[in-house]
């Protein structure tokens, strides 16, 4: 479904992606892991066309995305930090995105699910971080797209909402969708992810299942497995 070939990206002097090649064949949850600054978000944004790589190619369903925009109709994206125009109300924001995408949306269910009804007429600038993240989730999950990209979806969520989020992700997976997630919460990865893509210093260090990763690093626990990888690298 997604085919990334030798992707390179440099921000000024910092080489963030150093020839990333990756194939994600579709269906299932893929966790993109890596330490801070390993290029997770850059990789995701490249797929979305927000970051323009120096070289390499990205294909979705065998079509290059370079200079295109229409393919984003098939992607739902949850940005890492929920930042919205502060003058708009929640209601207006949702309306606006619906209007811009002109696709069918089940926003009402999600609003009910996350209990956002009382905030609908509040300006986004006045909302707490957690509430903003809920709005963010509504915007992401309200469309029915085959590819979901979630950048740190758990940030700022209370436990109840976290459970709702997990349910949502599972439901999407059951519907046969491809879901890319970046996160630092290993527990979340262990319970949710089908496969792990581990980025390190701009390269793909490991791609495989959780168990394969544990085996490779000789650890029983994912957190330790990753820690081992990182310390080994540093030695």
């Amino acid at each position: 479904m997604i085919e990334i070939n030798n992707l390179r990206k440099r921000f000024g002097k910092v080489q963030v992606l150093e020839g990333v090649s990756l194939e994600i064949s579709g269906g299932g949850i893929f966790a993109i892991l890596g330490p801070n600054g390993s290029g997770k978000t850059t990789l995701i944004k490249s797929i979305l066309g927000m970051v323009i790589p120096q070289s390499g190619s990205i294909k979705i369903d065998n079509n290059s995305i370079e200079g295109k925009w229409k393919y984003r109709e098939e992607i739902n994206y949850l940005p890492q930090i929920a930042r919205f125009p502060e003058n708009l109300t929640v209601h207006e924001l949702i309306g606006m995105i619906k209007n811009l995408r002109s696709q069918p949306a089940n926003d009402q269910d999600l609003i009910d699910l996350f209990g956002l009804a009382p905030f609908m007429d509040k300006k986004l600038g006045n909302l707490s971080g957690g509430t903003k993240q809920k709005v963010n989730l509504v915007l992401t999950f309200m469309f029915d797209s085959p590819l979901l990209i979630l950048d740190e979806p758990t940030t700022g969520l209370d436990p109840v909402s976290l459970i709702h989020l997990k349910d949502l992700i599972r439901k999407e997976k059951e519907a046969g969708k491809t879901i890319l997630i970046t996160t630092h919460i290993m527990d979340f990865v262990e319970t949710m992810a089908d496969e792990i893509v581990f980025l390190l210093e701009g390269k793909i260090y490991f791609k495989g299942t959780v168990n394969e990763l544990k085996k490779k690093s000789d650890q029983n626990d994912l957190e330790h497995a990753i820690a081992t990888i990182l310390t080994e690298e540093n030695v």
Binding site: I52, Y77, M96
Partner: protein, 260 residues
């Protein structure tokens, strides 16, 4: 593009700053008319203000908007919308809302004081056209600055500098070069240099109406042709259009390559 324009426009129209800007012009208009008691005198005073102020507000507001709309932009970039559409839409939204504040803010007081019945209507109209052009040009320049520089402080600094340069320093250098090269024929040179600065250009456009008597005092044949016929008017408006087009083209170019 229209949808983006619409959202940017509404976003701005509801922001405090648009009201401040609108109210400023409203107060300015009424104050001028009240103090001067003659529409023609007010138009002249207003010209001095518009030439300096619209570019300044355009740059500052433009830079401010593009920095503060960063979230909005990122939100839109993840949606199935063409990049150029997003940026041009936002640009037009800002430029239009500022222009609207200008036209309404000044239009209302002058209408109340009967500019439509006055012979000043053409001068006043020209003033608003120049002001609008300057707004569009300088918002576009500001957008370029904001797109080029992530650092807000730097961006603001450049924006203010560009305004100061165009509005004051440029004319200073221009004047010095005219005085220094006094012995050479300078009329072509001075027309070209004028064309290269949109603020000077709009000033000339208004001078053609307000100070034609003085402009015709200069003997140069090129000046005479430029000021004495409609050439000046058409050439100025033409070049102002080019001046609007170039930075808009660069908005497109820079935004196409930018990472978010």
């Amino acid at each position: 593009m229209f949808k983006i324009l619409q959202y940017s426009f509404y976003d701005l129209v509801r922001s405090r700053w648009s009201y401040v800007y609108f109210a400023f012009y409203l107060v300015l208009g009424f104050a001028l008319l009240f103090l001067n008691s003659s529409v023609s005198k007010s138009v002249i005073t207003l010209m001095n203000i518009i030439i300096v102020l619209t570019p300044m507000i355009g740059t500052i507001f433009g830079v401010m908007y593009f920095y503060s709309a960063r979230e909005f932009t990122e939100l839109l970039l993840a949606q199935p919308i063409k990049r150029s559409t997003i940026f041009l839409g936002q640009y037009l939204g800002v430029a239009l809302s500022l222009t609207l504040s200008l036209v309404l803010g000044l239009g209302v007081p002058f209408m109340v004081y009967g500019v439509f019945q006055s012979s000043e209507i053409w001068n006043f109209g020209l003033l608003l056209i120049s002001g609008s052009f300057l707004t569009f040009i300088f918002v576009a320049i500001a957008s370029n600055i904001a797109l080029k520089h992530e650092n807000k402080i730097k961006g603001f600094g450049y924006a203010i500098f560009i305004w100061l340069f165009m509005a004051v320093i440029y004319d200073g250098l221009f004047l010095i070069s005219l005085v220094v090269f006094n012995d050479y024929p300078l009329d072509k040179f001075s027309l070209i240099v004028t064309m290269l600065n949109p603020i000077d250009l709009s000033r000339i456009l208004i001078l053609l109406k307000l100070d034609i008597s003085a402009l015709l005092g200069y003997t140069g044949a090129v000046f005479q042709k430029f000021f004495g016929t409609n050439t000046g008017m058409f050439a100025s408006i033409g070049v102002l259009l080019i001046w609007t087009g170039i930075p808009v083209y660069f908005i497109n170019r820079i935004s196409a390559k930018k990472d978010f």
